[in-house]
C-alpha cells in the first residue's frame, strides 16, 4: 500500500514476535508489525493485488524482493498457524521468490488464469471430498 519508494535496509530482518498479550510493543498506525505483516502476506494471495504491485514496479525493486524473501518466515511455525488464507498465501509467496513469476505477473492474462484457477480449485476440491 505504501506509495513511498522504499530504501534498502528499511525492513527489519528479525520476524516480529508472535502476539503474547504484552502491549509494550511499538505500534504503527495503531497496529503491531505482526499485524501489518500478517495482513500484507495474506494480501499477496490475491492475484489482482500482485498484478497491481507489478504495475507499480514494486516487484522489480531489490528492497521489495528482499522483503518478500524476509516474509518467508510465515511459512514456518510458530507463524504459519496465523494464516487464515493458507493456500493462496503460501503458494503466491513461493511463486514470488522466482524472478520469472515476478516479471510475468504484470500480464493480465496470467492474473486472469490464476484467478480462474483459484476460484475453480476452491470449489472443485470440496466437491470431490
Amino acid at each position: 500500500m505504501a506509495s513511498e519508494p522504499m530504501s534498502v535496509g528499511s525492513s527489519a530482518m528479525e520476524p516480529p514476535l508472535a502476539p503474547s498479550g504484552a502491549s509494550d510493543e511499538p505500534k504503527y498506525a495503531g497496529f503491531t508489525r505482526f499485524e501489518l505483516e500478517l495482513e500484507f502476506v495474506q494480501a499477496l494471495g490475491n492475484p489482482a493485488y500482485l498484478n497491481h504491485l507489478a504495475s507499480r514496479k514494486f516487484l522489480s525493486n531489490p528492497s521489495f524482493i528482499a522483503y518478500i524473501d524476509y516474509l518467508q518466515y510465515w511459512t514456518r511455525p510458530p507463524y504459519i498457524k496465523y494464516l487464515t488464507y493458507p493456500g493462496p498465501t503460501l503458494k503466491n509467496l513461493r511463486l514470488l521468490q522466482q524472478e520469472k513469476f515476478r516479471q510475468d505477473i504484470i500480464s493480465p492474462q496470467l492474473t486472469h488464469v490464476m484467478m480462474t484457477e483459484g476460484l475453480r480449485a476452491v470449489v472443485e476440491y470440496h466437491r470431490e471430498n
Binding site: Y28, A29, G30, L83, T89, H112, T116, V122, V123
Partner: protein, 332 residues
C-alpha cells in the same frame, strides 16, 4: 598322472608275471608261485582300474560342479552389477535436505488443530451450492462450460484493476460493489448460454434457481478481497503517511480517544462555568430582592415614624444591610 603310471606299472607287472609263467610252462616246469604272482598282479590291476573308474567319475563330477559354479558366478556378477546400478541411481538422486526448522518438531494438540481448521474454514470452504460459475454437473472434459465461466472473473477484475491503477488511494467500496454486481450478471449470462446450449433438458429455468439454491450466482473468493485490503491496517498506515504523519507510535484510535476526552473535559468545564454563572446570578437576584425588600421595609418604617431626619441616614442603613446580607449568605 600318478594314477596312469601306477596303472602302467601294474600292467607291466601282470605282463611280466604272465611272461614268466608262460616261460615256465614252455620249459615244462610250471610253478605255483608264478601263478600266484600273476593272480596277485591281476587283482592289483583290477584295483587300479577301479581307481581309474572312480577317478573318471570324479572328473565328471568336477566338471559338473565347475559348470555350476560358473553359472553361479554369472548370477553373482549380474546381481552385483544390478546392485551397482541401483547404488549409482541412488547416488544420483538429488537429496532433499530438510531445513533446520522443519527438523525440529512442533507439537500441537488435536484441539489446536481443530481450532485452526474452524478458524480458516470461512476462507477455505465455500458454502454449499456455491460453484463460482463452474459447471461440474456435466462431463468435465467437455470444454463448453469452462470458457463461459472463465469470462466471469476476467470482466469483473479487469474493471477493478483499471480503478486500482488509476486511483490508488481512492476508497474501494464503490469498486467492490461494482465487482460483485458485474460478477452476478456475468454468471447469469453464462447460465443463460448453458441453458440455450442444449443441456436444457436437465436444467432448471433461471428464475427458479435461486429458490432451490440460495447461493446461486454467489462467488466464493479464497483470498483477501480488494475492499478488505483497502480497509485494513495497511490502508490506515498508508493514509497516515499520505497525511504526512509518522505512523510509528501514532494510534488513530488513541488519538480519537484523546480528542474525545479533551472535548469532554472542555464540555465539563463549560458546564461548570455555566452552573457557577447561574449560581452567581441567582445570588445576585436574591440579593437584589432582599435589598429591595429591606429598602421597602425601611421606607415603610420611615414613613410610619414620620421622621424628617431619616433622609441623611438612609444611605448608611442601606449599606449596612447590604453588608449583613452578604455575611448571611456566606454562612449558608
Amino acid at each position: 598322472m600318478a594314477l596312469l603310471q601306477n596303472i602302467d606299472a601294474r600292467f607291466e607287472r601282470v605282463e611280466r608275471a604272465l611272461g614268466t609263467l608262460i616261460d615256465s610252462i614252455t620249459k615244462y616246469n610250471p610253478s605255483n608261485k608264478l601263478a600266484a604272482d600273476l593272480a596277485a598282479a591281476d587283482s592289483e590291476l583290477v584295483g587300479a582300474l577301479a581307481d581309474l573308474e572312480r577317478h573318471r567319475h570324479n572328473v565328471a563330477r568336477i566338471h559338473d560342479l565347475q559348470t555350476q559354479t560358473a553359472q553361479l558366478d554369472t548370477q553373482i556378477r549380474d546381481t552385483i552389477s544390478a546392485l551397482w546400478a541401483a547404488r549409482r541411481e541412488l547416488k544420483n538422486t538429488p537429496v532433499t535436505r530438510p531445513s533446520s526448522d522443519s527438523r525440529t518438531k512442533h507439537n500441537f494438540t488435536t484441539e489446536e488443530l481443530l481450532a485452526y481448521a474452524r478458524r480458516i474454514s470461512r476462507n477455505t470452504m465455500p458454502p454449499p451450492g456455491v460453484t463460482n460459475g463452474f459447471d461440474f454437473s456435466t462431463n468435465r472434459n467437455t470444454a463448453s462450460p469452462t470458457p463461459t465461466a472463465t469470462q466471469t472473473p476476467s470482466a469483473s477484475f479487469n474493471g477493478a484493476e483499471i480503478k486500482t491503477g488509476g486511483t490508488p488511494s481512492a476508497s474501494g467500496t464503490p469498486a467492490n460493489g461494482e465487482t460483485t454486481t458485474t460478477t452476478a450478471s456475468q454468471l447469469n449470462i453464462s447460465q443463460a448460454t448453458t441453458v440455450s446450449g442444449g443441456t436444457a433438458a436437465t436444467e432448471l429455468p433461471i428464475h427458479l434457481k435461486p429458490i432451490v439454491n440460495p447461493h446461486e450466482g454467489a462467488t466464493f473468493i479464497p483470498w483477501p478481497e480488494e475492499h478488505m485490503i483497502r480497509g485494513g491496517a495497511l490502508a490506515s498506515f498508508s493514509l497516515l503517511v499520505d497525511e504526512g504523519k509518522d505512523p510509528r507510535g501514532y494510534d488513530p484510535e488513541e488519538e480519537e480517544q484523546r480528542l474525545r476526552e479533551e472535548e469532554e473535559a472542555r464540555k465539563a468545564a463549560e458546564e461548570q462555568a455555566r452552573l457557577e454563572r447561574d449560581e452567581a446570578e441567582r445570588r445576585m437576584r436574591e440579593e437584589h430582592e432582599r435589598m429591595a425588600r429591606e429598602r421597602e421595609r425601611a421606607r415603610q418604617e420611615a414613613e410610619r415614624r414620620g421622621s424628617v431626619a431619616g433622609g441623611a441616614e438612609r444611605p448608611a442603613q442601606q449599606a449596612q444591610f447590604t453588608f449583613l446580607d452578604g455575611l448571611d449568605d456566606d454562612d449558608d
